[in-house]
Symmetry: C2
Subunit: 457 residues, 2 copies
């Protein structure tokens, strides 16, 4: 610990007295370039409005691969290439249907649903059953087969509105969606409804991936909006015997070949050392995937574009990586790490932007304490841009598999208050992204990449 303090003090001293002026100037140059000439916003417009939803395995996902490759080639990156990835190919099928039937009070009430990613369909006749509401897996256990068998389990634990960190609240509520269907199936449930993962009450159902466990039957699963969840819960209190009808048409098809897309600026001193900056190219099928994660893709490209535009010659090879299949498989992230290992590509660091294109607040850092302190010592360089948060935390799903190779992982952290309003819904569209916020984020990412490239980690 003492060593760290000495090292950190030394670092602070050397930066403050030595290169600080240049670094501050370089970082100002980066922000100026992105704020004046940033292309991320117009690229995002194309990705979302011209290509649209990019569900893994879809024609639009393939189009996004082609287009981002071409876009990076057009920007004159030194090397742009595809990395083959075998991906799952889940499709939603025709429109889902759901309704509350035979309510004594209200008769039939239509409910908007969205099948969870990777889930199976109900079959053409749908599923009709009583609904049992639970908050968590412990309640499943208490109810047992007796209380659950033949029924539709309704997970209704809310994402805590009191949590200032929306991601923390998401983390606390996400097990319902990810594991709920299998956990309920173990007790004989015939289908699962999940309350949408958002802190606000509105009428958008939020999809998202679920994972069937090997030791449980696969049952259909769908999300309902928070508004409908509140409503259904109230109604169940008065009419616990009401019937719910669900019809989903989703299915998992044969795996397909898809790609990660990688663009490089070659390193001038250590070309065999890499800094990867990425987002994921796939999105859910409900909307344009503007914040999740078109934003992260175009920001990653913008990092390289801006550094090149201001004439910076990176020491290491910088890579913008468009990962495929984050949403329902993470195959792209796994493949990237696998190939890094196979090709013995030493990664100095990996950075991910997958929390939306909002005003930057800082970074979450997943690395040893020495490296963490090293990055924190650069904090003062970001203060003029009102960037204050450099704390320990996860890097991100796509870069996660690099952790076993001891790669320091960096999660770009924008303001997160609006994120889960749009997340995995039909309203995650281009118009929800602000040009200046998106570009401020890209500039902030580029500034940290510059420092890491210049000084190592």
């Amino acid at each position: 610990m003492k060593k760290i303090l000495i090292a950190t003090s030394f670092l602070l001293f050397s930066i403050n007295s030595g290169f600080a002026q240049n670094d501050a100037e370089m970082i100002r140059k980066i922000y100026d370039e992105v704020l004046q000439n940033g292309q991320a916003y117009e690229q995002l417009r194309f990705l979302t409005k011209q290509i649209g939803p990019r569900l893994t395995g879809s024609p639009q996902a393939a189009a996004a691969v082609d287009w981002t490759k071409e876009a990076m080639e057009d920007l004159g990156f030194d090397n742009v290439f595809l990395q083959e990835v075998l991906v799952p190919h889940w499709v939603r099928g025709e429109k889902e249907e759901a309704r509350i039937l035979n309510s004594r009070k209200l008769g039939t009430v239509e409910v908007d649903v969205t099948a969870l990613g990777n889930s199976i369909g109900t079959g053409p006749e749908g599923i009709l059953g009583n609904v049992v509401e639970v908050q968590n897996f412990l309640e499943l256990l208490k109810l047992g087969e007796e209380g659950i068998k033949g029924k539709i389990v309704f997970f209704n634990r809310r994402m805590d509105p009191k949590s200032v960190s929306t991601f923390a609240a998401y983390g606390m509520a996400g097990d319902q969606r990810r594991s709920g269907p299998s956990e309920a199936a173990k007790f004989g449930a015939v289908a699962v409804l999940v309350r949408s993962l958002t802190q606000v009450i509105d009428d958008n159902p939020h999809t998202g991936g679920t994972r069937y466990q090997e030791d449980a039957p696969k049952i259909p699963a769908a999300a309902i909006s928070t508004e409908d969840a509140e409503f259904l819960s109230l109604l169940l209190k008065e009419e616990p015997d009401l019937k719910f009808y669900l019809r989903t048409n989703a299915m998992m098809k044969k795996e397909k070949l898809s790609h990660n897309v990688i663009g490089e600026l070659k390193g001038s001193e250590k070309p065999d050392e890499y800094i990867a900056i990425g987002g994921h190219l796939d999105s859910w099928d409900l909307a344009e995937g503007a914040h999740d994660d078109g934003a992260g893709c175009v920001q990653s490209i913008e990092v390289l574009r801006a550094l090149k535009a201001i004439g910076y010659k990176p020491k290491r090879t910088l890579r913008a990586v468009m990962f495929m299949n984050e949403e329902n498989g993470l195959r792209g992230g796994r493949k990237y790490a696998e190939m890094a290992e196979v090709n013995k590509e030493k990664h100095l660091a990996a950075m991910e932007s997958d929390r939306g294109g909002f005003t930057p607040k800082g970074f979450t850092l997943d690395m040893d304490e020495r490296k963490l302190k090293r990055i924190q010592a650069w904090k003062y360089l970001f203060e003029p841009y009102k960037i204050f948060e450099f704390e320990a935390g996860g890097g991100g799903a796509d870069i996660g598999p690099l952790k076993s190779q001891n790669v320091p992982l960096i999660g770009f952290k924008p303001d997160d208050q609006r994120y889960f309003k749009y997340h995995h819904t039909q309203i995650d569209t281009f118009d929800k992204v602000d040009e200046r916020e998106l570009h401020m984020g890209a500039a902030t990412m580029a500034a940290l990449v510059y420092l890491i490239d210049k000084y190592g980690l």
Copy 2:
């Protein structure tokens, strides 16, 4: 200076060791209350969607006075009253028209314009003239009467996109709108066009107040969008002799009686000491005035509502103040200060929210250094909410007149990247406000009000 340090250290010590636990808990309670039960968002929905644009002197401004009074009464505030204010009554009149005429290249091109607030109209025939583009008042001086007389002056200085602080950029560009018409009129200009005050390039003309000087003829003045400004500027380079037609129908009518609306929670220990928290009730006529400044009004009400809801008994009297006529006269702000002086109301502090309903970042503080340090010593209590900025800076237009009574002024500071995209345009509508962002802001304001009330300043 030494005294200040000692005082500050003492304060830090006493807070950290003494009441800190209670304060942290109370502030957590405030955030919990607002994030779970906040009413500001639904109130804003009413103010913007049911009442709508609230230009000073309009029926909607009067409706907003009635409605906010009733809303605060319904919330059970101890005292709610109106303060008479004589206000200017400017009206836009029928739709404005503008076009580029007889361009050799393009023929006639329609241009969207919006008359500047307080400006006179062109008369029914409109004004036809050559256009001379300038960046600033110095260029007017260089051109002189010879270059300006009989022409339409086009102020085209952009709001610097490189400025991370959008308000700083606004400050650097705002003289064109505020004083441009009179400055140009001194050299014989017949009308003025102003580039809209926003850092992005889009097609929304932004209105805003202008002020005619006594020593210059009044000439019509209108804003054009940044997109049209760029276009007109390019075209003028090729065709400096092109003609521009402008017709505006604005006029200043007779002054009217309007009101500030004030709601109070009575102080339990020092009822004659006040903390005022306010926003302005009037808006421009182009849109619903959601961010500017419906947000500030409902947040101010929410501060009192939330403190009351958690059972906090303020020592001082807390006031939510809805100021009238910030946009084109500041009469409400002036009247409030005047009445405070007349009635010998000692204000411990005044806080204003007039920078939009975005994620809170902190406060700007306009007060002596001792008080500034005192507030900065509370910074650590805001860190759990990712609020980091407590710096010297202006309090706000409406509370500004209290400065001569030595009242410490506090400007609520939300994230500002999106603000000037919407500012004074038709797109400043309810859907641009996010519920969580608005409520996080209200909670942050309430937390600081609590500390000031409890400890004094």
